[in-house]
Symmetry: C2
Subunit: 398 residues, 2 copies
């Protein structure tokens, strides 16, 4: 299961909530396993997951009728109680023997149509005896006006925003999430390797990008991040691979990652085409030491802001005296920026089971950009890396 049930129940109890409702597509998938394929195609389609506190009823998914087939076909979906809304016709063969999936889909199609998403949600809440309860609603995925409308539809309930609860629950990953993140990280590294295989003078950035994304797709992931910049263009934060042709001596910076079974990777590596200058070597080594400094410090109980301070200080001491950053890393999961943020203003404390991207980018317009970014899991006694390559500068023959 993706959902960290214990942590969710604990945070609900701490807030005195009888139930929470996921609405943001990422939170819906996290809470239920259900992922609408149309999420990246159609903005604002409403799906919800009702998660009652222990002893307050069974979880339920609220979904548009045209997504019922996904309830049956997606192995991740663990919630059986479904409320549907909207007209969508699926026929069934009268005389054919149906398999169990087909049977289940026919059952779901025969559920009552609740008309609108909010009416379906209210039916699920009422059926669970929660119409007078205190309910936390993830306000980020609701259409504008729906939060207020829900209050009118449930006049005896206490409704409060709960997007932050989902973000905090998601910060500590389950084993299944860690396994997907590890695979996503591996796919990103393999895809970098595929891009570097074609890297030589005369080859365009675009060709590196195609090799990168092509490998990502072959490994069963979806392309998401694909910053690949060369030469002075490597200083562009979001370098989109373009027509520029690689030259001997170039810095090539990757800040990349795809989505594997809904989980994201975010990895950065730098290669040079032939021998780097002394300054590139010195700066890159300093950035790498910064990341390794974080690895030595990270363990449950350490403050995110202390990690930030130590990393920036290490990079300055090791070779970039003017180094400045807003953050040196962030959580990663079903969203690319999960809790915590490794920033000076963060009040987060590291917990066992968090998954982090630790990164020390450096962008210098006119020169190049350099970056090390690794994905790790926080274990009881420190850091467990998700990477299979180290963050050192990779010097390609040229």
């Amino acid at each position: 299961m993706l959902l960290n049930v214990e942590r969710c129940h604990e945070m609900m109890e701490r807030r005195g909530l009888d139930a929470v409702v996921a609405t943001l597509p990422e939170n819906v998938t996290y809470a239920s396993g259900f992922a609408s394929q149309s999420r990246y195609f159609r903005h604002g389609q409403q799906s919800y997951v009702l998660l009652p506190a222990p002893g307050r009823g069974e979880p339920a998914i609220i979904v548009t009728t045209s997504s019922l087939d996904e309830m049956v076909s997606q192995a991740d979906v663990w919630i059986r109680r479904i409320y549907r809304y909207g007209f969508f016709l699926i026929e069934h063969a009268k005389d054919l023997a149906c398999d169990s999936g087909d049977q289940r889909l026919m059952e779901l199609c025969n559920l009552p149509d609740h008309g609108t998403p909010l009416d379906a949600l209210c039916a699920a809440i009422a059926d669970s005896g929660l119409a007078t309860a205190r309910i936390g609603i993830d306000e980020f995925g609701l259409l504008p006006g729906y939060f207020g409308k829900l209050g009118s539809l449930l006049p005896k309930a206490t409704i409060e925003p709960a997007a932050d609860l989902f973000r905090n629950v998601r910060a500590v990953k389950t084993a299944e999430e860690i396994s997907r993140l590890r695979r996503a990280a591996w796919i990103a590294e393999e895809s970098i390797a595929s891009a570097l295989e074609v890297a030589k003078p005369g080859v365009s950035e675009r060709e590196l990008g195609l090799a990168f994304h092509g490998r990502t797709v072959r490994e069963g992931a979806h392309p998401v991040l694909g910053s690949i910049g060369s030469g002075p263009g490597s200083a562009m934060i979001h370098a989109e691979p373009g027509d520029r042709v690689l030259q001997s001596g170039d810095v090539i910076r990757f800040d990349v990652g795809g989505r594997y079974r809904h989980y994201l990777a975010d990895v950065a590596r730098v290669a040079t085409l032939g021998e780097p200058t002394a300054r590139v070597r010195q700066y890159h080594r300093a950035l790498h030491v910064g990341v390794l400094t974080a690895f030595e410090m990270i363990r449950p109980g350490v403050k995110a802001s202390d990690i930030f301070d130590a990393v920036v200080e290490a990079v300055r001491r090791e070779g970039i005296p003017h180094y400045q950053r807003g953050h040196v890393g962030h959580g990663i999961g079903i969203e690319g920026y999960d809790v915590p943020n490794l920033s000076p203003s963060s009040d987060a404390v590291i917990e066992e089971g968090m998954t982090l991207c630790v990164e020390t980018p450096y962008y210098e317009i006119g020169s190049w950009g350099l970056q090390v970014e690794d994905m790790i899991v926080v274990r009881r006694d420190g850091v467990e890396s998700m990477m299979s390559t180290d963050g050192g500068l990779k010097v390609l023959a040229c």
Copy 2:
């Protein structure tokens, strides 16, 4: 330019608006050309585009500092007035000659930091002399609470929701949009062809999916929709290609499309592995005639609901007497479901320059799913197809 400026100004005038503000990532890209690479990675990051009415000032983009490089590198960005917010450090080489892009990025980095997205937006509005104006805000991309907060920050302005204005402006496409949609449609068809090249008994759906998405990536697009179902699984609306192995006699249904330079394709085709049954032939032909019936009717001035009625009637008459649908097509563009919807309850009237997906899917649990879906542009005198293949049933040698 992606934005249909004349239509936008006309709709603003009709509503008495002095300015509109895009907030949804799709609307931001549509209005300005700017597309944040992190849009698919990070939920809720705020970028806005201020579009004043003619004579009321220059358009402006409001953006987080870490996206400034995208203002420079993205050739689509046509707005020069930028308001930034947030800390993000980009260094620059002191003694190196910078090219014009680097110069521009350094200028942008030196703009004042407005702190928060709403403060930056208010600065842009005030600098345009619009602090007492009537302003339409696309409410769909704002974080919860921001709409009300904006009202307090601009106490003398009249603020009203305007997401529907953007949807209506976007319904009639510019030449640049049509050219991208045409390319997206072509990539979808070529990707179907690549998948069908590997289709034979013993090959898994997954292999078809990899061939499909691999081709999409090679053509410079991003995978989005990828429903590929075979045999009884073709009846699953969102068939995710899985381990099932193709068998002789299978129906293979594609409902697919990628994203090319921000514009989406949505195309459906059906093939059979060897000769289809008479019922598959009859049903598929009826569905195809339904789509062709729409093509004969569609021209400026025709009601969307009349098209719906005619299509459903044609499919019933031609071989599926019990055919029912909620809609037989929809607009397509930077979102997968643009205006208009070809449904019985729609009050939309077809206009020149609309781009439509016309579709007649039929899902029969236990048997198969069949579907024809073509992309077209509405021209003065009727339909111009975006397709290079016809929607007929494709019978593969087996």
